[in-house]
Assembly symmetry: C2
Homo-oligomer: 398 residues x 2
């Protein structure tokens, strides 16, 4: 007899990014596909030094089990950082350490979603959030986003006439995939609507520390008066992703639910990774380190935008992010980014077609460009080639 699997297995599909990333493992491919940080900026020497200190001073603790909630000094640092930077009022008991911010999304699905429930999100939105939530059998309602963020009138209209909405999922700062950042006003309004309609907000914030220009804005969470808003964060983009250390912050009673759920899933995150980050934060100036990352990524963004301006035809539009890792490209209607990708892969250039970022499918004429991972000369070369392919493809289809 054949085995039978859970129903959810029929909605869980391979991520297009992960498949493209396999192609990009070849060294000669110029990849704009992943959201990979620049590895040459990882603080390898500092990590090496601090690992040794942690193992020498507290090796038995660093290698043993710890609590599900996570290492207290790290949770304290995160709460303080969020309060200073994002205008929140949190302490360690508002913080759960997770395997990257990704696990915060999966836990949110597990805590909030029953089959048939609805998640409201920006359109387009982070691909791997779609798969994380979809595994709990939810449907998505996409809300359009203008240059100030999610359009609140449309959101309120949807909230007022739809049952079973359990989560509103947003990335208000340097959004993935568009690079857009919400205005202060939209942040405030989202918090109000969340409270008015009793729907939890997941404010995903893995890129917020990577601002190249413009003014820092308080988080949506900072406008939360009732405890409905949860906010993720991550050390992946400001320290290193290989440690798999992120967090989710929220109301203490809700975080306790997340802790229970995580406990039965994997007990806890890597102990020594948590202690190493905490010790690094004590001994080194993370803002100086973030400053270095920001300088490099800003330069890469500048070059990417300059090349796209120069090499892409005028009918192609793209966003100008104030920070983060991505810009979003819109080709003329009817042009397929997937077909352009095929031609690019032959010429050893990779990116992610935009359709996968729309949970209900859409917009074959879009794609996402990551500019953080490649050195400057390869960005130039890659976008030059990409521009040629795009021009060629468009002129043929006319």
């Amino acid at each position: 007899m054949k085995l039978s699997f859970a129903k959810r297995m029929s909605y869980i599909k391979a991520s297009e990014i992960r498949e493209i990333l396999k192609v990009t493992e070849q060294e000669d491919v110029i990849s704009f596909a992943g959201g990979l940080p620049a590895p040459e900026l990882f603080p390898i020497d500092e990590i090496n030094e601090i690992n040794q200190i942690v193992l020498k001073d507290a090796g038995t603790k660093a290698l043993q089990y710890t609590t599900t909630e996570g290492y207290v000094p790290l949770r304290e640092w995160i709460a303080k950082r969020m309060n200073e930077r994002l205008g929140t009022v949190l302490d360690k008991d508002n913080i759960l350490i997770t395997h990257g911010s990704q696990q915060g999304l999966d836990l949110s699905g597990k805590v909030f979603l029953d089959e048939g429930d609805i998640v409201v999100c920006e359109s387009p939105i982070y691909l791997a959030a779609i798969s994380a939530f979809k595994a709990y059998g939810c449907h998505f309602i996409e809300i359009p986003t203008d240059e100030h963020g999610m359009v609140m009138d449309v959101l309120e209209d949807v909230l007022s006439r739809t049952e079973n909405i359990k989560l509103i999922y947003v990335i208000p700062t340097f959004q993935n995939p568009t690079g857009k950042t919400w205005s202060l006003d939209r942040r405030r309004k989202l918090a109000k609507l969340s409270s008015k309609y009793g729907v939890a907000v997941i404010e995903d914030n893995p890129y917020g520390e990577l601002r190249f220009e413009g003014e820092s804005l308080p988080s949506v969470k900072s406008f939360d008066t009732v405890g409905n808003i949860l906010c993720t964060g991550s050390f992946s983009k400001i320290f290193c992703p290989g440690f798999r250390i992120g967090w989710i912050a929220g109301d203490k009673d809700i975080i306790r639910k997340y802790v229970l759920v995580k406990q039965s899933m994997d007990l806890q995150c890597n102990t020594i990774a948590q202690m190493t980050i905490a010790e690094y934060l004590k001994r080194y100036d993370i803002d100086k380190h973030i400053g270095k990352i920001v300088a490099v990524y800003k330069r890469r963004r500048d070059i990417a935008l300059e090349c796209m301006e120069r090499y892409f035809p005028d009918t192609v539009k793209f966003t100008r992010p104030e920070g983060g890792l991505f810009t979003w490209v819109e080709l003329p209607e009817g042009i397929s980014a997937r077909e352009i990708l095929e031609r690019c892969l032959e010429r050893k250039i990779a990116f992610v077609p935009g359709a996968s970022f729309f949970p209900n499918g859409n917009k074959e004429n879009t794609f996402r460009i990551n500019y953080s991972n490649m050195p400057e000369d390869r960005i130039r070369k890659g976008l030059h080639t990409l521009g040629e392919v795009v021009k060629e493809y468009i002129s043929r289809s006319e």
Copy 2:
């Protein structure tokens, strides 16, 4: 308006062990409660040395994202080890690296279980497996276990007359909580029944390497002719738990499903932890290291059994494990292990009452003793006191 949570949140409860473990954080408590390895046996110096090598030789890779499947040399080692020790025929594509063996259980729930499905298990069984599966809304049917393992006639009877059984969950070697080990014959029969009735088996094997005496046995997986059996493993008990590195092994098509599910949950396990273990396995003799652990735990088991013999009344029964971390105690009928625990906690002794190990509730007169974590003198002292409390309690209730 108040938030509404997923239905599953009503079945997810705090683990009794985790609550007791909080008490045991006080240094003067003698704890037989957790399943903690002895931290004085962690290879701290070796890890320190190897961390430095990994960071120096491949720092950018060790701190970057990697594939969901996990680090190839580590998966290759695991496949080879299982083939040699457990009689399986596996290669790296049969192996997914997980956050400890615990995540293998959670993933199994996610891949196989719909609400209302049934998990068949030994009685009693590992507490945190109950919570992992319960989160997917399943029910449990418990099968009695004698000195050779799960009673196969009862299992076949249940399989033949019950619908919706999706998983059979077992720990055939040094079981948690009983310390029991299944015979070769029972292993073979389980594989046959799994194939006959088309039900997947999760063979949980985190303790299998810790054998003090007796002959090593092939895994249930080694008798799998159709690909229905998945087998977990872990570095937590033979290396260190703080790294959170374990695995699940199974049929390649099924493992691909697990990979998809894990990908949307947390992308991957800690990269440098995987590389450090793989490098350790290349440079050091893990069997020598396991030999050290086994010698210490065997001595602790001997002392624990000797003390229980001496200090416990004759009406109290306990198991004599050939390996692993636990022995299982049965008090006379009607005696409550929870009440004995309360009295013990006043005298700074902790253990886990047995009732939580029965998914459908039962057997208030049982408890689990862990002997791996405390030094010898504290085992003696603790079991002496525990024996006194038990005697006192029993004589009062007569």
